[in-house]
Amino acid sequence: MSAAVSVTGGAQAPLLQADGVSIQFGGLKALTDFSLTIRQGDLLGLIGPNGAGKSTAFNVLTGVYQPTRGDVHVGGQRVNGLKPHQINHLGLARTFQNIRLFRALTALDNVKVACRAQGALHPHVLGVGAKMKNALGNYRDWWRALLLTPGFQAEERELTRQAEHLLEVMGLSHRRDEEARNLPYGEQRRLEIARALGTKPKVLLLDEPAAGMNTREKADLMVLIRKLRDDFQLGVLVIEHDMKLVMGICEHITVLDHGETIARGAPAQVRSDRKVIEAYLGDSYLESHGGAA
């Protein structure tokens, strides 16, 4: 734990903090000076036109890309250079814009993969001693599985119980033994959230959770996301295109355009921001309608 961050004081230490994160692919600045703080109970929105860098921001936070500049802290620990699975172990879970379920696995097994991966390792991913301990623990786990020890069997039952509970929370109990690829679209999205929750995250990143859903499903989803935040005591960050959904549930919104943060604040404030309207609707709209609405 780095002391510098854990003494932030205030009501709560931030669970996720990005400070001036920039990322550059060759000459392309995909993200410039991106900052964000998520605390427990937060429900933040990240919006912007297509190609604004929203998913890039997600990928930097989760360790898929390494930031060119700036720091990311998860749970008080600097995570630059860590692998995605290590960052996940620190309490950060995500869903994907284009659904990435384990298609041939049943719904239950999808969630069990996530539940297990978490139990196997401890969040102390740094340090040689901890690494050795992890490696040893891992080999012990293999032997336990090969010998079907009672401890292993109990653990399997516990994993199944956890996964079943998450399926129930997401209203997917009836799909338990169905292969993920056979689920309808909306349920696949929900299964992705269930799987992410399986890793017992502190922060949940949702990448366009409502994409492809109908109005009714979207409304349900809004309620569900709020409920998850409260029940699982999460901080949630949502990327979304659907303005109604974002404005409806998020308490704080960050707007990206061309990799730059052009606005941040409460929904009402962001909605009337001149730059935001410009980014979304173009200059011509502003000219013909005479400024911000």
């Binding site: 990435r100 049943t106 991966a117 033994d177």
Partner: protein, 355 residues
């Protein structure tokens, strides 16, 4: 034919104490294998054919852990087999005159044989680790290229090393192997493969096969799991090589060429990538195929020459088989399922899912 005993279903209420459930199938296998050995030991041809078949099953099932379950593509399995064969072969050659004084001669031989096998297997596993670690950190086809290279390197090294008999090969390795030993290892590799498939490790491997990016994001240490599955697979390939070295009269580099690697890949693909029982069935079929062809040509009385050339015309036939398979049933015989999933409905089965 030897059938591996059914594995205990985790949910099953059984009379076996929980602590013993893990090794109970092994105990059953030991008894069944003794019976099996007694049945076949009369016919040298049956012993030989069954041993070859057993070795092929071990190779196919172990390769399936990497190519099927983990979704990586290794095409150098014969290389690991060669490592096991030569290391354990040389060890046995050098320990030929040694006997453990406190044991009867036969028992002492078997103990030394087991030690030689394990050393060969561990050497192959170590090679697997060295080959796997750099190439499995990356996503994509690197493993295929590296394993292909590895297989050839091993072959060339053996060909140019005096201790390994160069191109002439090693002869005079004591013939310690027996169907009992071969099928004990067959049983073991199947048990390991199935137990892995039914555990969280197996689920992680499947997850990597399905979507590596998502698996990583869900906290699965993808590199670690890939390397470990590759090491386990290499270990059993080494064991298979060791067994092979102890029942054939001579091992030479020609036994471990790229053709052998492809033969194993064909078995796994034919059986269905990811299906352990599929790999077993395919290994049995492809071992019997040349023998069947030989008898067929002999029966047809085709000049006698065709029957002798079965080994050469085998590969085109494998190729044809693969083409037909890809056209008619691209997922292989069983797909990712197991034998008991494709049995007729009235036979009770496990519930769907991996565990």
């Amino acid at each position: 034919m030897m059938e591996t005993p059914a594995l205990p279903v985790p949910e099953a209420r059984s009379v076996i104490p929980a602590g013993l459930r893990g090794i109970f199938p092994v105990l059953v296998a030991l008894v069944l294998l003794a019976l099996f050995q007694w049945l076949v030991s009369e016919s040298p041809f049956a012993v030989y054919l069954l041993s070859v078949m057993g070795v092929n099953i071990i190779l196919a099932v172990s390769l399936n852990i990497v190519n099927g379950m983990t979704g990586q593509f290794s095409i150098g399995h014969a290389g690991f087999m060669a490592v096991g064969a030569y290391i354990s072969g040389v060890l046995s050659l050098n320990l030929k005159e040694v006997a453990l004084s406190f044991l009867p001669v036969a028992a002492s031989d078997q103990v030394l044989f087991t030690v030689a096998l394990l050393v060969g297997g561990l050497a192959a596993a170590a090679c697997g680790f060295l080959v796997g670690l750099p190439s499995l950190r990356l996503r994509g086809d690197y493993l295929a290229i590296v394993t292909l290279g590895f297989g050839e390197i091993i072959r060339v090294v053996v060909q140019n090393t005096n201790a390994f008999g160069r191109a002439l090969g090693l002869s005079g390795i004591p013939q310690y192997s027996s169907p009992y030993m071969v099928y004990f290892w067959v049983f073991l590799v199947v048990l390991v493969a199935r137990r892995i498939a039914g555990s969280s490790h197996g689920r992680s491997l499947w997850a990597i096969r399905e979507d590596e990016v998502a698996a990583e994001a869900m906290g699965v240490d993808t590199t670690g799991y890939k390397v470990r599955s590759f090491v386990i697979s290499s270990f059993f390939a080494g064991i298979a090589g060791g067994l092979f070295a102890h029942f054939v009269p001579i091992i030479n580099p020609g036994s471990f060429t790229f053709v052998k690697s492809m033969e194993i890949v064909v078995m796994v693909v034919l059986g269905g990538l990811g299906s352990t029982t599929g790999a077993i069935v395919a290994a049995i079929l492809l071992t019997l195929l040349p023998e069947g062809m030989r008898s067929l040509f002999n029966a047809l009385g085709t000049e006698g020459s065709l029957a002798q050339k079965v080994d050469q015309i085998r590969m085109p036939i494998y190729g044809l088989l693969l083409v037909v398979l890809m056209l008619s049933r691209p997922q292989g015989l069983f797909g990712v399922r197991e034998l008991w999933d494709v049995l007729p409905r009235w036979i009770p089965r496990k519930r769907r899912g991996l565990s």
